[in-house]
C-alpha cells in the first residue's frame, strides 16, 4: 500500500477505527493514547483513527448506538465491533478488534 500523500487520491485503509469520547476526560485521553499506541504497534500505516466528541456532536451517538464512553468502534473491516473502556487491557483490545499481534 502506498503511503498516503497530500494528493487527491483517496487511500483505502484496511482498518477504520472511530473513538467516541465525551469531552477530554482522563478516561478519554487514556483511551486515545492507548489506541494510538496499539495501532502504531500492530497496524502500522493501515489504520485510520477518527475521534468524535459527542459533546460537540451528540446526534452521532444514535447512529452507532453508543452508550458507554469511551467507545472504540471498528468500522472496517466488518463486522462492526465495539470496545468500551479506556482500552487499558491490551490483550482484550487486540482480541476484540481481532488484530493479530505483531510478534516483536
Amino acid at each position: 500500500m502506498a503511503k498516503s500523500s497530500k494528493t487527491a487520491e483517496k487511500k483505502v485503509y484496511k482498518w477504520e477505527l472511530r473513538l467516541y469520547i465525551a469531552g477530554n476526560t482522563p478516561k478519554s485521553v487514556t483511551a486515545l493514547v492507548n489506541l494510538k499506541k496499539y495501532c502504531e504497534e500492530h497496524l502500522k500505516d493501515e489504520y485510520k483513527i477518527e475521534v468524535i466528541d459527542l459533546l460537540k456532536q451528540p446526534q452521532l451517538a444514535a447512529g452507532d448506538q453508543i452508550l458507554a464512553v469511551p467507545t472504540l468502534v471498528r468500522k472496517v473491516p466488518v463486522p462492526i465491533r465495539k470496545i468500551i473502556g479506556d482500552l487499558s487491557n491490551e490483550e482484550k483490545v487486540l482480541v476484540g478488534l481481532n488484530i493479530r499481534p505483531v510478534k516483536k
Partner: protein, 575 residues
C-alpha cells in the same frame, strides 16, 4: 416578623404532579405522577408496562402539550409504531411534528468488549440530545434492565444508574422507568433502590379462568393515594383504570320524579314514579315479567327524549327487542333514534371488575340518564355474593353521583319472599318491586308488591300484574270471601257480579211488569165499576123520567077527560 413568616409557610407547597392522561389513574394518584421525578412501573411480562408508558408520552404530547422522549431498549421504533397503531396513536405523525421522539438503544452483547473503566456518558448524551431537541418534559426508559444483560460490570452499571436518575431529576423531566417483576422483589435488578418516589405495580391475574388486570400504587412519596388494587382494562383506546368512586355518601340528590312507564305503577308510587337518580330493584322468580318492566322503563325514558343504556347479561338485544314487540313496546325505534343503547355480554366474558370498568366507560361515553342491568344475578357466576355486592355498591355510588337512575332486575330463587334477598342488594336500593306468583285454583298469576320505596308514599296493596298484547298493566285484586282472588278466580268473580247485576235488573223488570199488569187489572176494574155506576145512574134517571112521563100523561089524560066532560054538557047530540 416571625409570625408572618410562620403564616406564609403554613400554606405548604404540595407536591406538583404531572397528569398522565390515562383515564382513572389521575384520580387514584391525586393528580398524576410526581413532576420532575422518575417513577417506576413494574410488572410481569405482558402486564402492559410498555403500553402504559407509551400512553403517558402520547397523551402528554397530544392532550397536555408536553413533548416526550421514549428510549426503547427492547423494541425497535418501527415495531413500537405498529404495535400502538391499533390504539389510534400515530407515532410517525407525532415524531414528524416534533412532539415525541423515539430512540432505540440496541445492546448486542456479542459486539461489545469491555476493557477498562468506562461510564455511560454516551447514554446520557443521547438522552440529553433527544430531550433538548424537542424540549421534552416527559421521558420513558423501557426497559432499562436490558443494560444489565448487555454489560458485565455491575458496579459501574449501578453507579451510572444512580447518576442517571439524579441527572433526570436535574433535567426536570418526569420520567417513567419500566422494570420486569422479580421473584420476591419489585424488579429483577432492584431498580426500586434508585427510583423510589413513585412505584406502580401492574398485575395480570387469572382467577377461575377469568383474567383481570390490576394496578396498584405501591408507593408514592408525598401524597395520599389509594392503596388498593384497581382493575383496569386495555382496549382500543388505551388503558382505562377504574377510578375511585366517592365512598363518602354526600352526593347531591334530586327531587325530580321519573315515570316507570306503567301508569298504574306510577300511581302506586305516590302518583309520580321514582326519584331521579335513585336505584330500583325488580325481583321475582323466573317468568314473572322483570325484563318487560325493565323494557317499559327504558321505553318511557326514551319517550322523554332522555338517553338510556340497557346492559343485558342473559339475552341478546335482538331477542329482547323481539320479545318486547309482542307486548307492544318498540325498542328498535328508540335504538334507531339513538336514545337507547343495548349492550349484551355474558358475565363470564370477563371478570367482575372488568364489567364495572366496561360499564363505567360506556356510561361516560354515552352519558345516559337511565341505566338498566338485566339481570344481576348472573354475576354470581363470576364472583362470590360479597364481591358482587361490593361491585354493585360501587356502581350505585358512581351512578348516584352522576344522578343517573338505575334499574336492576334480579331473579329470586324461590317463591318465598326473602327479607334480605338478591345478593343483599335489597338494602342498597331505594325502591324494591317484587313480582310474585300467586298460585290458586290450579293456575299462577302474577302479583306485584312494592316492598319499599324510600322517600315517598307508596301503596301497600298487592296488585295483579297482567301482561297482554297491549302491554303491561296493574289491576286491582279482588278481595273475595276466600281472600285475594286473581286470574281466573277474579274473572269468575267479576262475571258473578255482572250476572248478579243482570239478574237483579231482570228481577226488577219483572216486578215492574207485574205492577203494570196489576195496574191494568185494577184500572179495568175501576172502568167496569164506573160503567156499572153509570148504568145504575141511567136506570135511576130512567125511573125519574118514567115517573115524570107518567105524571105528565096522567095530567094530560085528566085534562082530556075534563075537557071531554065539558063539551058533552052543551048539546044533545042531534044536529
Amino acid at each position: 416578623m416571625p409570625l408572618k413568616v410562620k403564616q406564609s409557610i403554613t400554606r405548604l407547597k404540595q407536591l406538583p404532579k404531572t397528569p398522565t392522561g390515562i383515564a382513572g389513574l389521575d384520580e387514584i394518584t391525586g393528580g398524576g405522577l410526581p413532576n420532575g421525578r422518575p417513577s417506576l412501573v413494574c410488572g410481569a411480562a405482558g402486564s402492559g408496562k410498555t403500553l402504559f408508558s407509551i400512553e403517558f408520552i402520547v397523551r402528554g404530547a397530544i392532550e397536555f402539550g408536553e413533548p416526550g422522549v421514549f428510549m426503547a431498549f427492547e423494541e425497535k421504533a418501527e415495531e413500537l409504531t405498529t404495535n400502538v397503531a391499533s390504539l389510534g396513536f400515530d407515532l410517525n405523525k407525532l415524531q414528524k411534528d416534533g412532539l415525541i421522539k423515539i430512540d432505540h438503544v440496541h445492546i448486542d452483547r456479542s459486539e461489545i468488549e469491555e476493557t477498562g473503566e468506562y461510564d455511560l456518558d454516551g447514554l446520557f448524551i443521547r438522552l440529553g440530545y433527544a430531550i433538548d431537541s424537542i424540549g421534552a418534559k416527559r421521558v420513558v426508559l423501557d426497559t432499562i434492565e436490558n443494560l444489565f444483560s448487555g454489560l458485565n460490570n455491575q458496579a459501574i452499571l449501578r453507579a451510572e444508574l444512580r447518576r442517571l436518575f439524579g441527572w433526570l431529576k436535574e433535567k426536570g423531566v418526569t420520567a417513567i422507568i419500566t422494570g420486569e417483576r422479580g421473584q420476591g422483589t419489585l424488579t429483577r435488578q432492584g431498580l426500586e433502590e434508585y427510583v423510589s418516589d413513585c412505584v406502580i405495580l401492574l398485575d395480570h391475574r387469572v382467577i377461575n379462568q377469568i383474567s383481570t388486570r390490576l394496578l396498584r400504587v405501591v408507593k408514592y412519596r408525598g401524597t395520599v393515594h389509594g392503596t388498593n388494587e384497581y382493575p383496569f382494562l386495555i382496549d382500543e383506546e388505551g388503558i382505562s383504570v377504574l377510578p375511585i368512586t366517592s365512598l363518602t355518601l354526600d352526593s347531591d340528590v334530586s327531587n325530580q320524579r321519573v315515570s316507570s312507564g306503567i301508569p298504574a305503577l306510577d300511581k302506586m308510587l305516590g302518583g309520580k314514579g321514582f326519584f331521579r337518580g335513585s336505584s330500583i330493584l325488580v325481583s321475582g322468580t323466573a317468568g314473572t315479567g322483570k325484563t318487560s318492566i325493565a323494557a317499559y322503563f327504558a321505553h318511557a325514558t326514551c319517550m322523554r327524549k332522555e338517553r338510556c343504556i340497557y346492559f343485558a347479561f342473559e339475552e341478546s338485544p335482538q331477542q329482547i327487542m323481539r320479545n318486547m314487540r309482542s307486548i307492544g313496546v318498540d325498542l328498535k325505534a328508540d335504538v334507531d333514534k339513538g336514545l337507547l343503547q343495548m349492550h349484551a355480554s355474558r358475565p363470564t366474558l370477563y371478570g367482575l371488575e372488568m364489567h364495572l370498568v366496561d360499564i363505567h366507560k360506556k356510561i361516560k361515553r354515552f352519558k345516559p340518564k337511565a341505566v338498566i342491568l338485566d339481570p344481576i344475578t348472573n354475576l354470581v357466576t363470576i364472583g362470590s355474593v360479597s364481591e358482587v355486592k361490593a361491585m354493585l355498591i360501587r356502581l350505585i355510588d358512581f351512578l348516584q353521583v352522576e344522578n343517573i337512575t338505575v334499574l336492576f332486575t334480579a331473579l329470586s330463587l324461590n317463591t318465598i319472599v326473602n327479607e334480605q334477598t338478591d345478593e343483599g342488594v335489597s338494602s342498597l336500593v331505594d325502591a324494591w318491586l317484587l313480582v310474585r306468583d300467586i298460585e290458586s285454583n290450579g293456575e299462577r298469576n302474577r302479583g306485584m308488591y312494592i316492598m319499599k320505596s324510600r322517600g315517598m308514599k307508596h301503596s301497600n296493596q298487592v296488585r295483579e300484574f297482567v301482561i297482554t298484547d297491549a302491554g303491561l298493566d296493574l289491576v286491582d285484586v279482588y278481595l273475595g270471601p276466600e281472600g285475594v282472588l286473581t286470574g281466573s278466580a277474579r274473572e269468575a268473580q267479576e262475571l258473578n257480579q255482572v250476572t248478579g247485576q243482570l239478574l237483579r235488573n231482570h228481577a226488577l223488570t219483572r216486578k215492574d211488569l207485574e205492577i203494570k199488569r196489576k195496574r191494568t187489572v185494577l184500572e179495568a176494574k175501576i172502568a167496569s165499576l164506573q160503567e156499572e155506576f153509570e148504568s145504575v145512574q141511567d136506570e135511576l134517571n130512567k125511573a125519574y123520567i118514567e115517573e115524570d112521563m107518567r105524571k105528565e100523561i096522567m095530567e094530560k089524560n085528566r085534562k082530556q077527560l075534563t075537557d071531554s066532560r065539558h063539551t058533552k054538557n052543551a048539546g044533545n047530540g042531534k044536529k
